[in-house]
Amino acid sequence: MAKRKAPEVNAGSMADIAFLLLIFFLVTTTIETDSGLNRKLPPMEDVVDPPIIKERNIFTVVVNKYNDLLVEEEPMELSELREAAIAFLDNGGGKGEEGCSYCEGARDPDSSDNPEKAVISLKNDRETDYKVYISVQNELVAAYNTLRNRVFKKRNPNFGIDYVQAEKIFNDPRTSSTEQDRLKSKLDEVKALYPMKLSEAEPSKTN
């Protein structure tokens, strides 16, 4: 008996099937955003003795209900905020012990003593828009990142990367633990030089 050949499957509709699946995935896909500004909230417990901070070491940023920016009681454009924050943090106006050897600021005696003491106080109104608040936060984080990048590059000239990139590598789960250990000490050193002291007051009520 002659061997019967199996009939060939018609593959002509393959493209149609694939198109159908493709369209399904095209429609259901949402490329999810998974990045943002990381922040830490202060713990709830009441501070018994709030430390006394000198007026010159506080940089007040207020956003009112009309989304206007007031920096140190003066109106300011959002585009100038980063520069102003850098000038304040990097001032290093302290004398002797209080001084700051790595600062490159103006050393104005009426501005912050050193980055360790400098506090940025952010206050917003309940009617402030979230996007304006995020813009302000972004600029303040940018000010810290600029300074950290500068000092990181200066202390680790052979790394060839800046602070932000180093932190990104550090946070990447694919980075090996030996590499992480090596970066951690460098990152902590820079973090200690420019600690992020961003305090948020509870928002004011609008009457």
């Binding site: 694939a18 198109f19 896909t29 955003t33 990381n38 979230y130 996007k131 995020i134 972004n138």
Partner: protein, 149 residues
């Protein structure tokens, strides 16, 4: 003129198909609010997905507006919620995660750019009460001036 061969069409389509299959992340909650995230450029990548709890907030989208109004609301999982529910939600989410992850959880705030800060401050107060201190303001990346338009 010879006809163009369409023999490689399935291959091309399959290639596209595989790309979308790999890139797709299935959303686990349907959004009932408008959610245009603000823009920032100093962003850091969010932790792995199993270490993140999501809180959404914004104005109810058009089809829910006659029922829920136009005031910004909080959405937890698939329902609208009030500020008082946030604490319980966080505790429930935390309990559902593996023991070793419970201390490293981040709360991602996916909030519409048009929302007023009052609501967000209330959420933050609730988060402080349940000691969920690591937060992430989820943003799109880009220049901040886009926010001001």
């Amino acid at each position: 003129m010879p006809a163009i061969s369409t023999a490689s069409l399935p291959d091309i389509v399959f290639m596209l198909l595989f790309f979308f299959m790999v890139a797709t992340v299935m959303r686990d909650s349907t959004l009932m609010i408008s959610n245009t995230l603000p823009v920032a450029d100093q962003v850091q990548k969010l932790d792995k997905k199993d270490r993140v709890m999501y809180i959404y907030a914004g104005k109810p989208s058009d089809r829910y507006q006659d029922k829920f109004g136009t005031q910004a609301r909080i959405q937890l999982n698939d329902k609208f919620a009030t500020v008082q529910d946030v604490g319980a939600f966080i505790l429930a989410e935390r309990a559902s995660k593996r023991q070793e992850l419970q201390n490293v959880l981040t709360t991602a705030l996916k909030v519409d750019g048009e929302t007023k800060m009052g609501l967000i401050s209330d959420i933050k107060q609730e988060l402080r009460k349940v000691n969920a201190l690591k937060i992430n303001y989820t943003t799109r990346s880009g220049d901040y001036t886009q926010n001001l338009r």
